[in-house]
Subunit: 165 residues, 3 copies
Amino acid sequence: MERPPPLGPELRTLTIELRELYDEIADLLDRDQVERLPAYFTDDCLYQVISRENHDQGLPQATIFCDGITMLRDRVLALRQTQVYEPRHWRHFVSGVRVVSVDGDEIRAQANFLVTEAMSDAEPTVLLVGHYHDRLVRRDGVLHFRERSAVYDNYRVVRSLIVPV
Amino acid sequence: MERPPPLGPELRTLTIELRELYDEIADLLDRDQVERLPAYFTDDCLYQVISRENHDQGLPQATIFCDGITMLRDRVLALRQTQVYEPRHWRHFVSGVRVVSVDGDEIRAQANFLVTEAMSDAEPTVLLVGHYHDRLVRRDGVLHFRERSAVYDNYRVVRSLIVPV
Amino acid sequence: MERPPPLGPELRTLTIELRELYDEIADLLDRDQVERLPAYFTDDCLYQVISRENHDQGLPQATIFCDGITMLRDRVLALRQTQVYEPRHWRHFVSGVRVVSVDGDEIRAQANFLVTEAMSDAEPTVLLVGHYHDRLVRRDGVLHFRERSAVYDNYRVVRSLIVPV
């Protein structure tokens, strides 16, 4: 079996840029600033949180599914204005940010995520473990997500999944 | 909501330098070489391990609190010479090292940490999950911590917290 | 106690290259493409998965032990053709990739790993936590492992360990 060639300088720089972007989004989610999330997506974006089982079989059923920026903004609004839930604190651990391919203006990238959740009277637990499966494009030189699929390994989600991952 | 601009070359280099520093300290703690820790701090440093609840409300009560390099050195000495505890092995997972701001000579930076603890007859468990909240300055060109606050999400710490995080 | 000097530009670049390599291998293991693993090793390689207890005392007993590329290839073949086991999905979280030393043509490097395992009817759990202890050399300009020791903190391995870490 052959190995892929080592990264050239352009892919290396792109990988570093992507890691910064992934860490920036993880941080805003950890700070509960989800209102800032839509600014990272294109108008025609797909954002979803989906089980690996469904994703790998091409089944459309997703835990969170936003088709286009308007749905994503609506999701954030609903979260703040209509939903009632117990306060919780998340913390993202992102590992293995990698460029999968560059095809024309589109970059495919991926990373592993582990999200811990702390509620007011319980120890932090590992809430979700999975894999970002992303497609990105540049708009005015700045990277935006055309797709972010947060594909989780969990066979079920303990407690309800309310905010984006 | 606006996005912050992408990092310029100076902040990118600083982020890489910070990641090296964070990984270096995590490694010395994992190796139980805590005697080496004070060399990373300024004389007027603040080092603390504190719950998020207290930190966010500005309450001073911290699990470990060292005000100045002398207290930090004393803490390390006490740990080695006066305390008796069961051997344990820690492992740090640091994610999302980021520059928060640069203001004059002071850099504010942050990262998430997850620390596992293994004792001789039990599986490794997630001991602490939290967030480094740091202020750094250069001394002779080398980064030193003026403040390191290890702010944990846990609502309590299982077993006693003996060594710095 | 003195601090080591900050990394110069060569060690910084090498660290970035190593992180790419570690993430690449973690990804192929997460994808269950273990057939691709031997291409990252030298002919005279040592690959082992071993407990910290045995490793630190110099005891040879390892959970997986491959002395040379032929044994490593054989291990992969056995895994695919003769072993029967319940499907499982792993996810690697790698933190703290660092150069330990460069001595002639040999690079010593290390990183922490946390591996989660998801089976079809159970939540992902932390399967293994530990430390890569590696020696690498360049062959035709490309980094290869002369040794990879995956040293785990677990005092025992829950369920059997079938695939490389």
